[in-house]
Symmetry: C2
Subunit: 442 residues, 2 copies
């Protein structure tokens, strides 16, 4: 009995009726236990395999935004839109958009998608899995004659890796200063948007307002090792962590390594080391998933026989809970103060990046959970430690993400890999989540 | 009575009879309390002031070995030798040597001197104080008609700052590989020796054998802050510390700063920080004057949002006691092992430089002590934390050094400064130490 209750509850949330040949606008029988739909997984993995040659270099995938390889990747993607019958257009920000009309003209669009640009020396899965997965979902719906009530829009955002430029444009969060920044390709973002077919002078035409969308969903590789370690197939993303970057300048006094006794030093390196150890201990001593990383350190004069007079280091702090980010910001300042006093150095801490956590919508997560359950996939709720276009969309629409495992937790590397079956699992979950969203949302 | 005993004892060691107008070869009245001799301090400081314009740049003194400024400095110095009647010659290593004959042809030379080359962006006192001080001592002896029993040789070593090249040549410790090294000037040492008037093909002609010299003494600025802090005028150097350099390569695994939980990291930066803190604590927990410095750190990939996969750092370890250097070499390896295990990283520690401590001769130190006492100068015994040509000479002759205070303990910097009165004090001590050595040694 208990088992049956669980199945009913699961079905109520997520079981997807077989919509094939259902007449447009037909009322769905809630609670009926129909089999979930499936995408054409072989086709999806075929696209990914073919795409692997676009921007491939000896050191990895190099489809950095606005480069020739990025343009080649976008041309490839536009063809997939066309083959899917999605009649693609490029908005003024350079995002690629396609659309399947719904049966109810009063309903807002459901938006799904990701990106196809890469980091320098990256892999073939970060972005393309979710982009091609979304195109495949739309194509499968058409091929299987499933007509949604809502319009379904598929988006491939431009320049995600350079700071979610396309999705930030779509929510009106791009400043003139952002446009003047030089991207990895060597072009400014202003130039780049023109290169990919946008129009900076009419950027506001790409904007969506709060409430314009029914919801936004994005399939992505995890880029970490939690799913693999737990032996699970699907991650239901509870949100994208907030991110704060600090630049810490530690000033001591450069002096002779041989003639300066240990108790008369103002050693910026020792102060930096104590800071790095204390930051790590502070974060690990509080339960939760906070991460703090000291990834960069520049030492002056950086000479074997001179006590360092200055160290500049960075701290990357992330958590899903904004209160924890505030807590650790204060804690790091306090640690710097204490170590500065103890080592006769000064700490100057500047905040350089500050992104608020983007919390997933509980209803969208429930649809994902239900879709995964109907497909029999093992899964867990988890935060995204990396940034995504979804974090921008969360500011204007109910958002959630679907994660599939990254082998070895490796990403932003030529070693990045997600198994073909996991790619298909993710697209199947996205497909059935779209159907749940279509059925339920208004 | 006690006080009188002390004065007698001090006089027995060091009091210098007034030798002016003493006929050559005259027997000195030991135990008599004559006034010490004095150098021409104004002249010595005048030379230093004039020399300050040679190689002066906006960022400091740049008389790096074999540069045009070094050649100009050597020309200036050769003139001082000539004016002092020292009839200078350049040996095959490029060292400048002058000589005052003694009255007893059976006695070995007393050698005094230092260097005039500088580091990049250095000061005007490291080297010239001892070089010009030695020339002034010889000139004062001549002018005051003091004839020594021993020959007195004055040396200005070439390329001290590039690894005591001149003095190592003089003890036969230069290898063909050393000659191929590129000096700060951009020239190889092989080229440089030719440029300053030496002859690499006949380098062995510059060699002195063990027992060739009566003793070697060098006046130098302290380059640290111990004398200033203690309010003392003269340092009697007990020896030059042994030096060992280590290059430590810490290998972890580079990964995403956002998606890798704190307990799944192999963070080379964290391991490096723990190592730096532990090395500092290890050295400070053992009483004594050991110094250990982590002066250089190179991080890969050194990016704010990537957990560092590799850190290469250096350790500079110094002590006058060779047993302590051995002890800490083992201790650092053990610390690396422990931290590597705890942080899932590997430590590879390579030794790159290894110089044994150079211990001063007790008799030469006693002469310095006595000379300083006869002049009424406050003083202490102390190690030299920096390397000097004296460390090479200690391998073949009884050696000791005389230190004068460095203002603020600053050296190898344009801020390097030693007060004129301290320069004169040091030269006066050297003068009277030479006389004590001449009287006593054979």
């Amino acid at each position: 009995m208990k088992r049956r209750t669980f199945l009913q509850s699961s079905a109520a949330l997520a079981a997807v009726p077989l919509l094939r040949n259902t007449p447009p606008g037909a009322t769905l029988a809630l609670g009926a236990s129909h089999a979930p739909l499936r995408v054409n997984g072989a086709r999806l993995n075929g696209w990914l395999a073919k795409f692997d040659s676009v921007g491939r270099t000896p050191t990895g995938i190099n489809r950095v935004a606005y480069s020739d390889a990025d343009l080649a990747g976008r041309a490839f993607t536009l063809d997939l839109f066309r083959e899917a019958g999605l009649n693609p257009r490029i908005d003024t920000a350079g995002n690629i958009l396609g659309r399947l009309d719904g049966t109810d003209r009063s309903l807002k669009p459901i938006l799904i998608g990701s990106h196809v640009d890469s980091v320098t020396d990256g892999g073939n899965f970060d972005g393309p899995v979710g982009s091609f997965g979304a195109i495949e979902v739309a194509r499968s719906l058409r091929e299987q004659n499933v007509r949604l009530r809502h319009p379904l829009e598929v988006v491939v955002w431009t320049n995600e890796e350079g700071g979610t430029v396309g999705s930030r444009s779509a929510i009106g969060h791009i400043t003139p200063a952002d446009l003047d920044k030089v991207a990895r390709s060597g072009k400014t973002i202003r130039e780049g948007i023109g290169i990919v077919g946008g129009n900076v002078a009419k950027l506001s035409e790409a904007e969506r307002k709060k409430g314009d969308l029914a919801c936004y969903m994005e399939l992505h590789i995890e880029q970490g090792g939690l799913l693999e370690k737990a032996g699970l197939q699907i991650g239901v993303v509870e949100g994208i962590v907030g991110l704060r970057w600090f630049e810490v300048t530690i000033t001591g006094f450069a002096n002779h390594a041989g003639t300066t006794p240990m108790d008369q030093r103002q050693d910026a390196m020792l102060a930096a080391a104590k800071f790095a150890v204390a930051v790590n201990e502070a974060v690990r001593s509080v339960p939760g998933r906070t991460v703090a990383t000291i990834g960069r350190m520049v030492v002056s004069p950086n000479t074997t026989n001179v006590i360092p007079g200055q160290v500049v280091l960075t701290v990357d702090l992330r958590d899903l809970d904004a209160a924890k980010i505030t807590h650790f910001t204060d804690r790091f300042a306090q640690i710097g103060q204490e170590i500065g006093t103890a080592t006769k150095t000064t700490f100057d801490i500047k905040q350089s990046v500050d992104t608020a956590p983007a919390i997933s919508d509980p209803q969208v997560m429930a649809w994902i959970d239900g879709a995964a359950a109907s497909l029999g996939f093992t899964r867990q709720r988890m935060p995204s430690g990396a940034g995504h276009d979804a974090q921008e969309m969360s500011r204007i629409a109910p958002m959630a993400m679907i994660f599939v495992p990254s082998v070895g937790g490796i990403s932003h590397s030529p070693k990045e890999f997600t198994k073909p079956e996991d790619v298909v699992n993710g697209a199947d979950v996205l497909l059935n989540t779209v159907i749940s969203a279509d059925r339920a949302s208004t």
